[in-house]
Symmetry: D4
Subunit: 208 residues, 8 copies
Amino acid sequence: ARQGLPEVVYGSGKTPEQVVGIVRTLLRHNDGPVLVTRVEPEVAEFVLAAVPDGVYDGGARLLVWRPAEPGGFGVVVASAGTADLPVAREAAAVAGAVGLGVTTVTDVGVAGLHRLLAEQERLSTADTVIVVAGMEGALASAIGGLVACPVVAVPTSTGYGAGLEGITALLAMHASCAAGITVVNIDSGFGAAMAAFRLARVVGRRTA
Amino acid sequence: ARQGLPEVVYGSGKTPEQVVGIVRTLLRHNDGPVLVTRVEPEVAEFVLAAVPDGVYDGGARLLVWRPAEPGGFGVVVASAGTADLPVAREAAAVAGAVGLGVTTVTDVGVAGLHRLLAEQERLSTADTVIVVAGMEGALASAIGGLVACPVVAVPTSTGYGAGLEGITALLAMHASCAAGITVVNIDSGFGAAMAAFRLARVVGRRTA
Amino acid sequence: ARQGLPEVVYGSGKTPEQVVGIVRTLLRHNDGPVLVTRVEPEVAEFVLAAVPDGVYDGGARLLVWRPAEPGGFGVVVASAGTADLPVAREAAAVAGAVGLGVTTVTDVGVAGLHRLLAEQERLSTADTVIVVAGMEGALASAIGGLVACPVVAVPTSTGYGAGLEGITALLAMHASCAAGITVVNIDSGFGAAMAAFRLARVVGRRTA
Amino acid sequence: ARQGLPEVVYGSGKTPEQVVGIVRTLLRHNDGPVLVTRVEPEVAEFVLAAVPDGVYDGGARLLVWRPAEPGGFGVVVASAGTADLPVAREAAAVAGAVGLGVTTVTDVGVAGLHRLLAEQERLSTADTVIVVAGMEGALASAIGGLVACPVVAVPTSTGYGAGLEGITALLAMHASCAAGITVVNIDSGFGAAMAAFRLARVVGRRTA
Amino acid sequence: ARQGLPEVVYGSGKTPEQVVGIVRTLLRHNDGPVLVTRVEPEVAEFVLAAVPDGVYDGGARLLVWRPAEPGGFGVVVASAGTADLPVAREAAAVAGAVGLGVTTVTDVGVAGLHRLLAEQERLSTADTVIVVAGMEGALASAIGGLVACPVVAVPTSTGYGAGLEGITALLAMHASCAAGITVVNIDSGFGAAMAAFRLARVVGRRTA
Amino acid sequence: ARQGLPEVVYGSGKTPEQVVGIVRTLLRHNDGPVLVTRVEPEVAEFVLAAVPDGVYDGGARLLVWRPAEPGGFGVVVASAGTADLPVAREAAAVAGAVGLGVTTVTDVGVAGLHRLLAEQERLSTADTVIVVAGMEGALASAIGGLVACPVVAVPTSTGYGAGLEGITALLAMHASCAAGITVVNIDSGFGAAMAAFRLARVVGRRTA
Amino acid sequence: ARQGLPEVVYGSGKTPEQVVGIVRTLLRHNDGPVLVTRVEPEVAEFVLAAVPDGVYDGGARLLVWRPAEPGGFGVVVASAGTADLPVAREAAAVAGAVGLGVTTVTDVGVAGLHRLLAEQERLSTADTVIVVAGMEGALASAIGGLVACPVVAVPTSTGYGAGLEGITALLAMHASCAAGITVVNIDSGFGAAMAAFRLARVVGRRTA
Amino acid sequence: ARQGLPEVVYGSGKTPEQVVGIVRTLLRHNDGPVLVTRVEPEVAEFVLAAVPDGVYDGGARLLVWRPAEPGGFGVVVASAGTADLPVAREAAAVAGAVGLGVTTVTDVGVAGLHRLLAEQERLSTADTVIVVAGMEGALASAIGGLVACPVVAVPTSTGYGAGLEGITALLAMHASCAAGITVVNIDSGFGAAMAAFRLARVVGRRTA
Ligand SMILES: Nc1ncnc2c1ncn2[C@@H]1O[C@H](COP(=O)(O)O)[C@@H](O)[C@H]1O
Ligand SMILES: Nc1ncnc2c1ncn2[C@@H]1O[C@H](COP(=O)(O)O)[C@@H](O)[C@H]1O
Ligand SMILES: Nc1ncnc2c1ncn2[C@@H]1O[C@H](COP(=O)(O)O)[C@@H](O)[C@H]1O
Ligand SMILES: Nc1ncnc2c1ncn2[C@@H]1O[C@H](COP(=O)(O)O)[C@@H](O)[C@H]1O
Ligand SMILES: [Mg+2]
Ligand SMILES: [Mg+2]
Ligand SMILES: [Mg+2]
Ligand SMILES: [Mg+2]
Ligand SMILES: [Mg+2]
Ligand SMILES: [Mg+2]
Ligand SMILES: [Mg+2]
Ligand SMILES: [Mg+2]
C-alpha cells in the first residue's frame, strides 16, 4: 500500500458486498497482507465465501488474507481486565497478521500488582509493549515505569459511570507520570498494532 | 461542634479580620480543636497575633488552636509526586490536629512500583490510607489492591494538559478497578482527613 | 481472596458459561463468600442450575454463594427516590452477603426534609451510612450534616437532562458542603458496600 | 424602559466614562430607577462624582439612582455559605432598588439542616424565595420542598475542584427533585432579582 | 400534598402496578388533583382500567384524576418548532390540570420573527409565558424582550449534533441577554407548569 | 498571497521585532494589503515606527499597510451588545482593509426585537451579513430568518457563567433553526471577514 | 418561501401522514422546489404514493418535488472517507435540487495527500467547496489552503472514541489554521447546501 | 536511571533551591545526562551558578548536564505554526540531549500543503517524526500519510476559542484517519522526545 503500510479496511458500517469489492481490489493491486477489522461473524461468513483463502478470527473480529511471515520484532500485548480482552485480541491479531511476533499477558490490572510483577521478565524482553486498559487506565503508567522500550497505550470503553466510555482512561494515560508512553484512540487495538508495525519497520530498516 | 465533628474554617476568601472573629467565637463556644485551612502566611501572622496560643503549619497552610491528643487510629498519607505534597501536607496536618496518628509515605507514584512495594509493610499496618495523587491518579488503584483497610483517595490538580486541573484524576479514581476505595474533592486534603476522622470515631465508639 | 476482601465477580458482559467457570474456581480456591453482581434473571437461572447452593436476589441483580454470618457492624442504606432503589438494593445485598448488618431507609429525598428528619434517630445509630441519590445528589450533604459516622455517597444515573447520567450527582457530592463525606462511582452500590466492608474489617481487627 | 422592566446597566468591562454616559442618557429618557451592576469601588467613585444623587452599595457592587418605593411584595434571599454572600447581596440590593421588600437569611447550608428549619417560618411568609448556593447547590432542593411559593435558584461559582466554577451547582439545581423551582445564570443575583420583579409586576397588575 | 403543591407522579421507569398503587394512595390521602407524567399508552390503559375516573392525554403522555377547576391565572405556552410540541403539550396539560388558564402559541421560532410578532398581543396578556424551544433556544431571549411578565424557559432535546441533546439550549437560555427569565430542566414541561403554579398561588394568596 | 487571499499576520504572542520582520517580508514579496491582527497599542507604536506607511485601528487592534480599494461587495456587520463591539470592529476593519464595503449595525440583541426590525431594510441590501453575538448567540438565528444572503456568525466570549467563554454561543449558532447560516471561531472577527472576502471574490469573478 | 430560500422540511421524527400534509401545503402555497430531508425508504414510499411527481434519492434520504433548473453556480462536494458519503450525498442532492451545479470528489482524506492534490484543478474551478469530513476533520484546513473560494465545512459523526460523535471534527474545523473557512452543524449536508444557495443567490442578484 | 531512561526533572513549580538539590543528587548517583524542563531564565541562572557545567537552552526552557553523544537515530521535529515553536524546541532539545540526531522542519501547517510536500524527502529519511501542532492538529494526519516510520504527535495549547487549550488538537489527533500515529500530552515536547528515545533504545539493542 501507499507509504509501505499494510492495507487494512475498516469493516464497521460497510455492507458485505462493499467489503468483498474492496478486498478484491486490494488483493489484486498489491501482494502484501489484506485485513478487515470490526467484522461481525455473519459478514465474515459472507465475505469468506466470496473471496477465497481468507481467515476469520472471531475473538478479534478480524479477516485476513495473505498474512505476513512472522518476523523477529517482539510485541507484548498486556491487558488489565476481562472486558479489555476484545480490544487486546484485535491488537494481537492485527500485529500478528502484519508480521510481528506477539505474546499476550492478561489479567494484570494494577489492583493486583503482584500478578503484574510476576510478568516483569516477559515484559522486559519486549521490543514494544501494547497496554490495553479501561476504567482508570492505570496499567499504562505502571508498565511505563517497568520497561524502557516503547509503550503504546490503548484506552478501552469498558466500565461505567465515571469511565465516560473510555474518555477517562484516554485522558489519564496522557496525564501519566510515566515518561514517553504514547496513546492511541479508544478501543483501537488496530491503531496500536499499526504503531508497533511502524516501529518494527524502522528497526528492520536499521538492522537490514 | 454540631454532630461531633471538629470545627474547621475554610480560610480562602476570608479577610484576616473575619478569620479572627470566627476563630474567637468557635474557641468560646466549645472546647475541642479549632482549625483554619488554606491560610496564606501573612494572614496567619495577623491572626496569630490577635488570637493567642495558635500554631501555623506553613507547608499545610493550616492554623490550629487546641489540637487533640494523638489517639491510636493510624492513618498513612501516601503521595505520588513532588507536586502533590502541599495537599498531602494538608491531609496530614488536619488529621494530626484532630487526634489521628499520622505517618507519611512520599514519592511512590506507580511509575516506580518498586518504591511503592518497599512501603507495603508500612501500608499494611494502617487503619486507613489517604492516597494523594494527581495526573492520572493511578496510585489509588495500586494501593487499593495492596491493602484491605479503608482507602480515601484525593485527586490533585497537578500536571497540565490532559490532567484537566484534577478532573481526570478524580474520574479515574472513581473508575478504578480496585474495589471499595472512596474519593473526595480535588485537592481536598481537608476532606480526606475528615473522612478518616469519621472512621476513627466509629472505631473509637465500637472499641470503647 | 487477595488482601482479605471478599471475591466479587462483575457479571455484566460475561456469558453464563464464563460466570459458571469463574464461580467454580473461586469456590474451590477459598472458603469465603462468592458474589456475582449485575446478573440478569436468565443468566442467574442458568448459573444457579450449574453451580449448587447459590441464591439470587433479583432486586439487587446479585448471585451469592456462602454468605458471611451477619456481624455487629451496622450499615444504614438511605436512598432518595424510587428510581434509586435498584442501586440501594445492590448496596444492601452486597453488604449483607459479606457480613454487615444492614438497615434500609427509603424515600428521604431532600425535597421532603421532614421525612428525612423522622429517620434521624435510626441514622444516628449507624456505624456507616451509604447514601444513594441521583438527580442533584443533595441527600449526601444533608445526611453528612446529620451524622458524624462515615458517609459513603453513591450517585445514581437516574433522572434526565441536566442530570447527565449521574455525572451531575457525582460532581455535586464532591462539591458538597458537608465535611468528610466520600464518594464512589455512579450506580456503584457494590463499591459503597465494599468501602463499608473495609471499615468493618478495621473495627473487627481493633476489637479482636 | 422597554416593556416595563427597570433599566439596569451591566458595568463589568465598561470604562467609567462609558458608564457615566449611559447613566446620564437613561436618567434623561425615563423616570424610573437606574442601576449599574458589577461596579468596582474606584469606578463607582468616579461615576458618583459625575452623576449626582446616586448611591453605591459596595457589598453588592451596585450603583443606584432613583430607587423605587418599597412595595408589598416580599422576597427572602437565602444563602448557604460565607462565599455566597456577594451574590446574595447583589440579589438583595437589586430587588430592593426596584421596589421589592427584601429579607435575608444567611448560613443555612443543607449540611446544617436545623439552622435551615429554624428559618422555616420566615421562609413561609415569602412571596418568592431567591436561593443563592454554590458547591453542590443542594439548598435549592431543600427550600423547594419547604415552601410552595416561587423559588428562583442562583448557582454560585464558589468552591473548588468538582464545583467547576458553578457549572455543577447549575446542573444540580436543574436536576433537583423539588418540583417547580427555576434557575438563573451562575452568580446572577441580578437575574434572580429581575425574575422576582417580573412576578411582583403580575401581582401588582392583578391587584390593581 | 405537602406544602400545598399538587401531587404529580413521575411515571417513567415505574411498572403499571407501581403506578396503580401510588395513585390509589394519593387519591385516598388528599382531595386535590393527582397526575402521572411520562406515561406510555399501554401503561395508561392498564392504569385507567384499575383506577376509575382518570383521563389520559396521549399527546402530553399525562394521566389525570380530579383536575382542578380552571382559575384566572393565564399561562401562554409558546413553542418554536414541530419537534418541541410534545414538551409544550406536557407543559400545557399539567398547567391545565392544576387549574391554570392555558393558551398555546406554536411555530414561532426566531428564524421567523414576523410570525412571532404577530402573536405579541396574545403574549402581552399572559400572566406567565412558558417558552419551549430546542436547538439554540433563542426563542426565550426574544420573548423575554417582548413581555414583562415572568418567563419560564424549557430547553428541549430536539435537533442533532451541536444541540447536545438539549444542553446547548439550556446553557444558551441561561446566558440569555433578556433580563429575569428563568429556566427549568431539559424537556421538563412538567417543571415549567409547576413553576407557573407556584406563581399563580402567590397571586391567588395576594388577591384573596 | 498564496491562492489569492490577502496576507494577514496573527499578532498575538509575537514580539514587536518578529512582527516587524514578518511585515517587511510580506510587503516585499507581493503588492496586496498586509494586515496584523490582535496588536496591542504599544506593539503597534513600535511596529509603525519601524515600518512606514502603516495605519493602526485601536478599536479593532489592527495594523494595515496598503489597504485595498473599496469594492462593490456590501457587508453589514451586526452586533448584539456593548461587549461584542471589539470583535465587530475587528470584522469591520479587516473587511474594509481587504476591499469590501462595510456598514455596521449595533445594539440589535434579540431581547430588543424592534430595534432589530428597524434595521431590516439595511440588512436586506447586504451581500453578506456578519453577525457578532455572545451570550446565547440568538441574533444569528434571527437575522438568518430575516435575510436570504450569506450569514456568517461570530460567537463571542462575552458574558459569564453558562456562556462558557463563547462555547455556548458557538454551539447555539450551529444548532440554529435558521437554514444555511455558517459559523466561524469564537471572537474571530478576522475569520468572518475572510469568509466574506472569499464570497466577494467569487462574485467578482462571476461578474467580471 | 419566506425571504427567498427554498422550502425544506426536516423529515426526521415526523409521521408519513404529517409529511404528506406539510408537502401538500407547501406545493400549493408557492411554486418553487419542495424538499424533505432525512426520510427513510418506507416513509418515502408512502409519501410518494400520496403526493404525485416527487422523486426519492435513497443515498441522500431526500424527497424532492419541482427541482430547480440547474444554474451556473458550481459547487464541489469533497469528502474524506467512506463513512462520510451519506452526508456528502445529502449536501449534493439538496444543492442540486435547489438549482446549483454539483460535482463530487470522494476519498480525499488528508492521510492521502496525493489523491487530494490530484483533484486540485477540479477544486480550483469551484464557486464554493463543501468539505465533508469526520474523525479529525483535517480536510477542511487542507482544502481551505488550496482554494480561495468560499469553503463550507461539514463535520460528520463518523468514527469512534475520541471523535465524540462529530464534536471533535466541529471544534477542529473552527480551530483551523486556514483563514475564512466556515462551518455548519454536524452531519448537516443540508445546512451546507443552503449556505451555498445563499451565496449563489447573491451572485445571481449581482449578475442579473 | 531506573529502567534505562535518562533522568529528567520537571522544573515547573519547584523552587530554585529544590532544583539544585535534585540535580546534585542525580549527578552523583549515575553518570548519564541530567535534564530539567520548564525552567524560567531566572531560575536557570541561579541553578547554573550553583551546579557547574550545565547549559541552558532558553528557547526550549531546558537545563542540561552531561548531554549524551549524538547517536545515529534520526528524529525530525515538524511543527505547524509560529506559536508551536516553543513546544517543538523542547522536543528537539530534549531529544538532542539524550543522544538522538535531530532535524527541524517548521511552518508546514496543512493550510500550506505545498510547503509541507517540499519537505517530503527530508521527512522520508526520518527514523521517527515528532509532529507539533495546535489549533486543529491536522498536521499529524497529513504527515502520518506521508511517512511509514513512527509518528509521535504533540498537540499544543495554541490558538483560542474552539481550540480549548489543546484539547481539540489532542482529540483530533486521536481521531485521525492516518493509521498508527500515536499521541502524547498537550504541549509535552518532553514526552515526545522520550517516546523517540524509547524507540532508539530498541534499535540500539537490536543492532548491538
Ligand atoms: N479498526 C479500525 N479503527 C480505525 N481505523 C481503521 C480500522 N481499521 C482500518 N482502519 C483505517 O481505515 C482506513 C480505511 O477506511 P475505509 O476507506 O473506510 O475502509 C484504512 O486506511 C485504515 O487506516
Ligand atoms: N479546605 C477545605 N476544603 C473544603 N471545605 C472546607 C475546608 N476547610 C473547611 N471547610 C469546610 O467549610 C465549612 C466552613 O465554611 P465557612 O462557613 O465558609 O467558614 C466547615 O464546616 C468545613 O466543613
Ligand atoms: N449583572 C448582570 N448580569 C447579567 N446581565 C446584566 C447584569 N446587569 C445588567 N445586565 C443586563 O445587561 C443589559 C445591558 O447590557 P449593556 O448594553 O452591556 O449595558 C441590560 O439590559 C441588563 O439586562
Ligand atoms: N436535515 C436538516 N437539518 C437541519 N434542519 C433542517 C433539515 N431539513 C430541514 N431543516 C429545517 O427545518 C425547518 C423545518 O422544520 P419543520 O417545521 O420541523 O419542518 C426548515 O425551515 C429547514 O430550515
Ligand atoms: Mg483497567
Ligand atoms: Mg500522580
Ligand atoms: Mg435524588
Ligand atoms: Mg452551598
Ligand atoms: Mg428552536
Ligand atoms: Mg448577545
Ligand atoms: Mg476524515
Ligand atoms: Mg496547527
